[in-house]
Amino acid sequence: MARGKYDIKAFPGFLPMTILCLVILYAPLAVVTIYSLNDSNSITNWEGVSFRWYADVFTGPESEKFKIAAWNSFTIAIIAATVSTTIATLAATAMVRGGRFKLRTVSFGLISLPLMVPEIVTAVATLIFFNSIGFTRGYLTILVAHIAFCIPFAYMPISARMQGIEDTYEQAAMDLYATKRQAFTKILMPLMLPGIISGYILAFIISLDDFIITNFVKGAGVETLPTAIFGSVKQGIKPNIMAISTMLLAVSIIMVTISYFVSKSDNTK
């Protein structure tokens, strides 16, 4: 529909604005990545490229703290993502393949509750809950809180995927005497796999990145990477924090990229 000068869609200045938008989004990340390679004890002066701060993360004086925090972060993220994805897959099957039913709207409201309630409110509420049932705060409380608030993030891509799959495949299988369970595990699940993988990855990242809820429900002494980083940053931004941030940043970007390509693949054809 391009008519040169009279292109009705084009507005002058929108391209520069888009570029500005991308620069704003990426510049801080690029700057931290570059400065993580700075061979200097101060974050202000640039003294050439080196990987010494990456080495410092693994062997330096704070390495023990980071190792424990990383272990907590990754094990919690893996367990929370696995459990919440399983729960979300079952729930999505009921919501998308369960016909109309009375509690459907209520169920959807409940599933999307963690997205509507401000995170700090969820954090306060969860702290109060664990406190009042006399549960000692620590690794387990973080894990349980993460499982709960990761459910909607896993649910969204899974249910979107299931919406896009016609039920003719399962019907055909059942016409050929497959049981409902077989139709589910052998037909629906494989077709759903891209949605499930995206859901799992999103839940994983959400858990790995969470600071606010973790900060409230972690007990004394239990740290995840974000809370450990926050603790360090309070005393000033140090070069080793730049290095560990860059590594976390890379993990997130790699996982989102995988999720993007997986969700683009269409295995229903």
Binding site: K9, F11, F14, M17, T18, C21, L22, I24, L25, P28, L29, V31, V32, I87, L90, A91, A94, M95, V96, R97, G98, G99, F101, T105, S107, F108, L110, I111, L113, P114, V117, P118, I120, V121, V124, A125, T126, L127, I128, F129, S132, I147, A148, I151, S159, Q163, D167, Q171, F184, L208, D209, F211, V233, I237, I241, L248, L249, V256, T257, K264
Partner: protein
């Protein structure tokens, strides 16, 4: 999108109708016990008496709400006059979140429009580029922003080297820094819904307007903007609501003078100086505000949907 999304889309079939209770049970249990029950307990806690070392005493009390709204003089025995301290913190939060929303709209609208008018095959790539930063740890993004904006940081270095300024501008620990941080945290939320509604917009309408000698700006204002308004409103809410209760941006970029709701709440639960019922009450007030905004929004979207359909 809105009406369908509000109820979670329609049921595609009823193949598993007989198993749906069992399929939903784990989700009901986990979310009911660990999200809904805690929120209700928080409501209860906001009406209890505070324990001085954190926690509560199980005695009914309106002290938390009284402390929030009422000023009772130095000895606490005067009649209630309006207490402005906390209302001002809420007011500042609304203002900061509003400024961040406006900033996101100014940058986000042209971006969303630009992406939506690209060839269909490259649009997902643009959208992907916009969403990547959202998935990077919010803490890391906020720290990066602080690093950028420091007096000796890259932004000031850059501005000095270009000769635009002579000495560094102080940005960190100002209201503006918090607005920038919030804007940076939630910018993708503005772009995506606007993008979705511009993508659905029928450009033949703009053609028709142009054929009738409407200028480009008139077409934008009178034809396009009303058509994409639901997307714009959705974007504004998606930026405004999380900004309102955010903790990291005001805490790391704002310093002590630029206190927002999130910091006020956090302070009540950290260390021994805390006041749990008061923190619960402040959380309840924040939650009520957010729910009211979301309800008005849902009603408006439903109306718009009806009008369009």
């Amino acid at each position: 999108m809105a009406a369908g999304a509000a109820s979670g889309g329609s049921a595609k079939s009823d193949t598993y109708a007989d198993a749906r209770t069992w399929l939903l049970l784990p989700a009901w249990a986990v979310l009911g016990i660990f999200i809904l029950t805690p929120v209700l307990m928080m409501l209860v806690y906001s009406f209890l008496t505070k324990e001085f070392r954190g926690g509560v005493i199980w005695e009914l009390s309106f002290a938390a709400y009284d402390q929030f709204f009422c000023s009772r003089g130095l000895f606490g025995d005067e009649p209630c006059t309006v207490e402005w301290t906390y209302i001002n913190i809420f007011w500042r939060s609304i203002w900061q979140a509003g400024a961040a929303t406006l900033l996101s709209l100014v940058i986000g609208f042209p971006t969303a429009y630009f992406i939506a008018t690209r060839p269909e095959s490259v649009r997902p790539v643009w959208v992907f580029l916009i969403t990547i930063p959202y998935w990077v740890n919010l803490l890391i993004r906020t720290v990066s922003m602080k690093f950028m904006l420091r007096d000796q940081g890259p932004l000031n270095d850059f501005l000095i080297s270009t000769g635009l300024i002579d000495s560094p501008i102080h940005i960190v620990n100002t209201n503006f820094a918090v607005q920038l941080g919030l804007f940076y945290s939630y910018l993708p939320f503005m772009v995506l819904p606007i993008y979705a509604s511009v993508e659905r917009y029928n450009f033949n309408l703009s053609e028709a307007a142009a054929d009738l000698y409407a200028s480009k700006m008139t077409t934008l204002r009178r034809i396009l903007l009303p058509a994409v308004k639901p997307g714009v409103i959705a974007g504004c809410i998606l930026v405004f609501v999380p900004s309102l209760g955010s903790f990291l941006a005001p805490d790391l970029l704002g310093g002590a003078k630029n206190f927002m709701i999130g910091s006020l709440i956090e302070e009540q639960f950290k260390g021994n100086a805390g006041n749990w019922p008061f923190g619960a009450a402040a959380s309840m007030i924040l939650l009520s505000m957010v729910l009211v905004i979301l309800m008005i929004f849902a009603r408006q979207q439903a109306k718009a949907e009806k009008g369009a359909g």
